[in-house]
């Protein structure tokens, strides 16, 4: 058994010790995880992006590569109150450009295409079921009209659709979390203790 596996196993146990209550082993492992994650992200970003895409081109005399680097550095000026105003330039570019790119794309993919598919799918039983689900759920979220009579029935039906969705989502969440537990126990019992047959 390698020492890397032992360290991983001990840290896993330290994290799971939280189930018995907060303790110094858990806090140590948690702080280590946060620190390592930030350090790793920083190293990957410098190695994969800043060094090859900014520093190296600048060193070759490509001045254009300095523009994003300077704009990125301007954001850091937020930390100095006297010069914090300079950070608004890159932020304005990010917000403006980001919104310009994202809004039409999101509108198309998340609203228009979804609406088209909902209507087009109404040629089958499941398509009708989805259409009824969408319409009744939308009526639940109309807050400018009292939810009484036929409108109230529709809103109630919409609520049942949402409850079914929440139930399915919660079940999938449980499944996902159990899978994480299985992964860790498989590691502890197999890789670390060698109790599992391959």
């Amino acid at each position: 058994m390698s020492w890397e596996i032992s360290i991983t196993a001990i840290l896993t146990l330290a994290i799971y010790s939280f189930l018995a209550g907060d303790n110094p082993f858990y806090r140590f492992a948690e702080h280590l995880l946060v620190g390592l994650t930030i350090g790793y992200t920083l190293v990957v970003t410098v190695k994969s992006v800043i060094w090859p895409e900014a520093i190296q081109p600048i060193a070759r005399g490509e001045v254009g590569a300095a523009i994003p680097l300077v704009l990125g550095a301007l954001i850091l000026l937020r930390l100095i109150p006297r010069w914090a105003g300079w950070s608004r330039i890159p932020l304005a570019l990010i917000v403006g450009g980001g919104a310009g790119v994202a809004i039409p794309a999101m509108l198309k993919a998340r609203v228009l295409d979804q609406m088209a598919a909902t209507v087009a799918g109404a040629s089958t039983w499941s398509g009708w079921f989805i259409l009824i689900g969408v319409v009744t759920t939308l009526t639940y979220f109309v807050f400018t009209r009292a939810q009484t009579g036929g409108w109230g029935t529709s809103a109630r039906l919409g609520r049942y659709f949402m409850m079914a969705f929440f139930g399915a989502t919660f079940a999938y969440t449980v499944m996902s979390r159990v899978a994480l537990l299985i992964g860790r126990l498989e590691f502890l019992l197999g890789n670390w203790l060698g109790l599992l047959r391959s």
Binding site: V101, Y172, R177, V178
Partner: protein
């Protein structure tokens, strides 16, 4: 209350451990969704290129690892070439590790059968940029070699050279692939995601914005069955079933207990009035 919770934790650990050690070998049924994804990859001609994006954090590896491993193995066995990349920094090393392990087992060569582009932040810009030029976004691969220096790197100029994108994700990244690569460049996208994300992506399957979805450890087990090569997914399924059985029993027992207490309280209230 805290004591009860600890008993539940202990029971869960015991159920999972027992299933992992004894492995009763419960059957795993294959869903049409996983079969469809398998079929899509199986229908690709040898020499086609699949882009696999490792859009996940290290914490979701128990689910994403088996899923990614099965899909990568399928591609390599079919003679389909792979371009790997990561849009989450934490997925960078995990993705390279997974690809290089499977490649070495199956005898696939770096540079001609697969390449790894590494990590790019700002996924929106990266996904959109690759529609114009992959080399414009990744001038060099993960190893620092210029993209044009490898045979596969030369072949992939933009999405027109990519038959399929597989986003191995534990969050909302497949949505961005749909918004920027599918909607704009008509790229086919498959979401290989953690189980918790399934309900978020089913509407995209219904609308055919996503080509397919395969999810969680169960999805990995199904895929391994289709491949005829049981792995970590199949190994975990017995434990998953044991844990789900225990949870179902606990839910029924908890509700029965709550109903009993409520009835007792009502009886006492009736007697006192």
């Amino acid at each position: 209350m805290i004591k009860t919770r600890r008993w539940i934790f202990a029971a869960m650990a015991l159920a999972v451990t027992t299933a992992l050690v004894f492995r009763p070998g419960l059957p795993v049924s294959i869903t049409p969704e996983t079969r469809h994804v398998f079929g899509v990859i199986d229908s690709l001609a040898p020499g086609s290129v699949v882009m696999i994006s490792f859009d996940h954090e290290a914490s979701s590896l128990p689910e994403i690892g088996p899923l990614g491993s099965a899909i990568v193995e399928h591609c390599f066995r079919r003679g389909v070439d792979i371009v790997g990349l990561a849009l989450f920094s934490e997925g960078t090393a995990a993705g390279y590790d997974l690809l290089s392990r499977r490649a070495s087992v199956l005898g696939r060569v770096y540079g001609s059968d697969w390449i790894y582009l590494g990590f790019r932040p700002q996924y929106t810009a990266a996904i959109l940029g690759m529609g114009e030029s992959i080399a414009g976004v990744f001038s060099a691969d993960y190893k620092g070699q210029p993209l044009g220096s490898t045979a596969l790197g030369k072949r992939v100029r933009d999405y027109r050279d990519i038959a399929l994108v597989v986003s191995l994700a534990d969050g909302s990244m497949p949505t961005y692939w749909v918004e920027y690569a599918q909607a704009r460049y008509h790229e086919r996208i498959i979401a290989a995601v953690t189980a918790v994300m399934v309900t978020s992506y089913v509407p995209y399957i219904e609308s055919r914005q996503l080509e397919g979805i395969v999810a969680g450890l169960k999805g990995a087990a199904e895929y391994e069955q289709l491949l005829g090569h049981p792995g970590a997914g199949m190994r975990g399924m017995d434990a998953q079933s044991a844990a789900h059985g225990l949870i179902a029993i606990l839910i029924v027992a908890g509700n029965w207990q709550a109903w009993r207490l409520r009835r007792k309280r009502r009886t006492m209230e009736g007697a006192s009035s």
